[in-house]
């Protein structure tokens, strides 16, 4: 299978073009401004001294790097952003050591501790800077940043692989593995690929230091050599960045053992550890996977970055084999657990994306000074740990890479987005309002091939082979297909204790939720009447309809307990797409509802 880069897929209109425009028009500037306000840009000047305020954090390099990458992943960069990026590159060049090393924290705060604190994101920051350099080079052709990062990569190779002089052997936060693969693909320098493989091969051969509260090995996926790992464990973003790197190496080296490990781990996530939104991470403790079927909704961690990282992983598996489950998971992430991380106006973000909000429970422990951790209820423009906002930029910028793959015989259409793609002598375009409706018109120009179009799992009317329907196409042929866009209820495995007796409403790939703003408080008490007519009312800002249907809620009671009477009143329930929750101030929110 061959990848079709997002650079070859131009979105022309529809759902995702609109989001890309918001990112370009609003988000990029807003994220930069907040990073500027919080000292992240200034930190690159390396002027901080002991005693100064605003000490650079160990992961600030990566925040800015992801912003630089995100901007650079679009086909055009505004002059203003070119200037910002060039200024940053100036600072990086000036701050780089003669030996190639670059890291703000370990230059101005703890220069004596370079490559000795495994947990402190040094290689993680290096990885993100490499990704940024690659993206900037590919869009602009300017290679100064790329050369800077190659020098740093050379230094890392020297220290970790050749001299083995660092105090640890594998990164405490994975990321550099997949970044080195990109550096290799941009430069053709195989040493970078081999360094990525080296970090992957070394992982789990020995226990290395992690944060105090974490059982050695699980938190950072070092509990076994990676080829022997069968389950998704530990910190979700760390995990899926690693798994993405593993999948890259498995594909490029044709490493069956590594591919098997990737498949088993992905299977574990999809069958046991993923929310219906595509979110992952059931607990804030370690921002981690827990045990199978433990998917609490109100305390879900489900970090925006974790959803993105799961899509990265699925995307790389898809490059090896066109199983529909990969595209299904990517679609789940795109329309739900990822997109909820961004406000409709493009300015603010969720780090955590719970599936239920009851505002008053955030401060329920009235006699305690400090409340236990519960996700916040309104998006913010910046966080102290602000990894998600720039990750959103880059993920939307390169969203097109998820649409197509191909091999000698077949062009696969995995996602449905209006746009034009060109690759390998083929031109292919889609016209669609998906997921507003299920109609997709695909125009193919190129040599005779098979066209494999994914049939979304909600579509039960189109016969398919393992999730794809195949057409013979020749130059100029137009294929029209209509998946429909049904509203339906989903149940979860009986072992998911939180959801027993409850159902999620979906419309096509989009999970819906009820909000207090529309439905008042005590949403868990509402029962939907799914036999009633469901009205769809188009909402411009959401690009999708809001749903209205009949429902019931029990009448208010003074007593706390009483003999079962289920004294209900009929109500109209309004559901909105999950990704659009919390855009109107603090409010209750619920995905898993009672259904009659």
């Amino acid at each position: 299978m061959t990848e079709v880069s997002h650079r070859n897929v131009k979105l022309t209109d529809g759902f995702w073009k609109k989001r890309q425009d918001i990112i370009k028009d609003v988000t990029i500037k807003s994220v930069y401004d907040r990073f500027f306000d919080t000292g992240r840009v200034e930190a690159f000047e390396m002027k901080w001294k002991n005693g100064d305020k605003n000490m650079p954090h160990v992961f600030w390099d990566s925040d800015i790097a992801k912003w630089m990458e995100g901007v650079s992943l679009f086909s055009e960069i505004t002059p203003e952003n070119i200037e910002k990026i060039e200024n940053l590159i100036d600072l990086i060049e000036a701050g780089q050591d003669e030996n190639g090393y670059f890291n703000i924290f370990f230059t101005v705060v703890e220069p004596e501790n370079r490559f000795s604190k495994r947990t402190e994101h040094e290689l993680y920051c290096a990885g993100h800077l490499m990704e940024a350099a690659v993206a900037y080079y590919r869009t602009t052709g300017r290679d100064r940043f790329l050369r800077i990062m190659c020098r740093y990569a050379d230094h890392i190779e020297q220290v970790f692989k050749n001299e083995k002089s660092a105090a640890f052997t594998t990164p405490g936060h994975e990321e550099i593995e997949l970044a080195l693969v990109k550096l290799y693909s941009a430069t053709g320098e195989k040493r970078y690929l081999e360094l990525a493989k080296f970090f992957i091969d070394e992982r789990g051969n020995r226990l290395e230091h992690t944060y105090g509260g974490f059982t050695d090995g699980l938190y950072d996926q070092s509990f076994l050599p990676v080829r022997e790992q069968k389950t998704a464990e530990g910190h979700c973003v760390r995990a899926c960045y690693l798994y993405s790197g593993m999948a890259d190496i498995a594909r490029i080296y044709d490493d069956e053992e590594l591919k098997n490990a990737c498949e088993m781990i992905f299977d574990d996530i999809v069958k046991h550890k993923m929310y219906v939104t595509g979110g992952i991470g059931s607990t804030h403790l370690g921002e981690a996977f827990t045990i199978p079927y433990d998917l609490p909704n109100r305390t879900a961690y489900t970090e925006t970055c974790a959803a993105i990282s799961l899509a990265f992983f699925a995307h790389r598996l898809q490059l090896m084999e066109p199983k529909a489950v990969y595209a299904e998971v990517i679609e789940k992430v795109l329309y739900n657990g990822f997109l909820s991380g961004l406000s409709l106006d493009g300015k603010s973000f969720f780090y955590e994306n719970p599936l239920e909000i009851i505002p008053e429970l955030r401060t329920k422990d009235v006699c305690m000074k400090e409340q236990p951790h519960i996700p916040i209820t309104e998006r913010l423009e910046v966080f102290s740990c602000s990894c998600c906002p720039p990750n959103v930029i880059r993920f939307v910028a390169e969203i097109g890479e998820n649409v197509y793959t191909y091999d000698d015989d077949t062009v696969y259409v995995h996602q449905f987005m209006s746009g034009e793609a060109e690759f390998d002598g083929i031109k292919i375009s889609q016209e669609t309002e998906y997921p507003l409706n299920g109609k997709v018109t695909i125009k193919y120009e190129g040599p005779a091939k098979k066209l494999a179009v994914r049939v979304p799992s909600f579509c039960e009317d189109i016969e398919n082979e393992n999730g794809y329907v195949f057409f013979d196409v020749d130059n100029g042929m137009v294929t029209e297909i209509d998946f429909g866009m049904p509203v339906y209820c989903v149940e979860s495995n009986p072992r998911v204790y939180e959801n027993c007796g409850r159902y999620a409403v979906m419309r096509g790939p989009v999970v819906y939720c009820a909000e207090g703003k529309d439905n008042g408080k005590y949403l868990r008490d509402i029962t939907l009447d799914f036999s009633s007519d469901i009205e769809e009312i188009y909402n411009e800002e959401m690009s999708l309809p809001v749903l209205e249907m009949k429902g019931f809620r029990r009448k208010p009671e003074e007593k706390l307990y009483y003999k079962k009477k289920d004294d209900c009143e009929e109500i109209t329930v309004k559901l909105i797409p999950y990704f659009a929750f919390a855009n109107r101030g603090e409010s209750e929110m619920l995905v898993w509802m009672q259904v009659k």
Copy 2:
């Protein structure tokens, strides 16, 4: 209203006589032995020195004191237990300061800190020792212990009320208030009553030190002067011991303002903060009340001592006014959230009494060394903080005090227990197997009066005035009444988010639950068919029937999410009394179930 002491109410057979026998035959010895093993008895020798193992804990005095009280509350004490108690009194006498002070921790560990550490249970221990001394005196007539504790009370009066020389003005853990009332009633010395009132009047006039993590004032009910408090707040046992003392003082001083505060607080508990089992305490953080309607089942704290303390509070309110809600709450506690604290064999205990157990979720945070707090799943014979076991002994020993109250015109029958009572020229006896069935035969001997018999709220066939049915009785009259003993479903207020769509099964006053031992795993997925026949199968050990009925559970699935199909299989569901859960090893357990 006049109290009828448990000393005037002799249980002759039935449910509670059996429990009293288990306490006398098994529990008393077992608790003493565990206290002996853990150094609690030896600690009274005051030989511990810095560097020794087994440092006496600040609340060990109270553990032993409650055991002494529990033993002494029975009408007969075995010679063996008399010897143990006399030995302990010897040690207390020897350890008492010339000025009357007695406390193990503040004699052998921190003698320099007497009456300076408000949080460290000094007056709490004093209170429990006073209660023990009163009970021992009342049963044996021996007044040595009583005199010792009077000397201590005199010293406390001197330090706190007269000199005001202590570093704090009110106890960090209330208890001594109600104890001083008992000391007053045993000695007739009004100064003790006034000292109780002093501590109550002083509370909340100023902020005093509490543990670091707690917002000043709420945790220890010092956020307002007690007469201005309207809600139940903070640590539940502290709270209800205080409220009990407040109710005592309100009654004895005829203090309307204080009575109103007690009633409003009780109302807040019963309408907003009490589990269907009569348990209180929604969080382990501060072992505390939280906000209204926050009643999570799996993480319920619901300490055994807290249930007991709620019954103490209700009992004292009942002495002021015969509202049925007081007896209803006491009954709820007795048959459910209190009794679950004791194993069927009388040997082991729960400190926490959750309404749901899913064993694997106790260790779900696989990548963490330390798991977050979740209640244990099997009872233990002793805890490091072992307040509950001896509290169980004394509560069962004096259970008879909840049965009757009377005034000039009327004798009230609040609880149903086979036995004979004598008070104020009246003899009254009950014959009943309650709650095995609802038949109660009451024989009255004495002057013509009204007999007010509480009609349990599950009985809907007997006309009553505010929960009591009134009979005119004369000497020798026998009243027969049958409340029935229906099996029924209870729903909770729609605001109780955890229980929406779920129901508790009750049989009379007894809450039932499903256990994994009988029904396999994934209990939350079971739906009871309440229209089917319910079979009652008598269980000797529980003194009650187990229930069998038809139900459904969804068939096992491999997928995590799928279109709603509710593919169910019919099963037989077995329910046991909630109080009997976890007597067969670790297992899932659930109270709030789905019902069709």
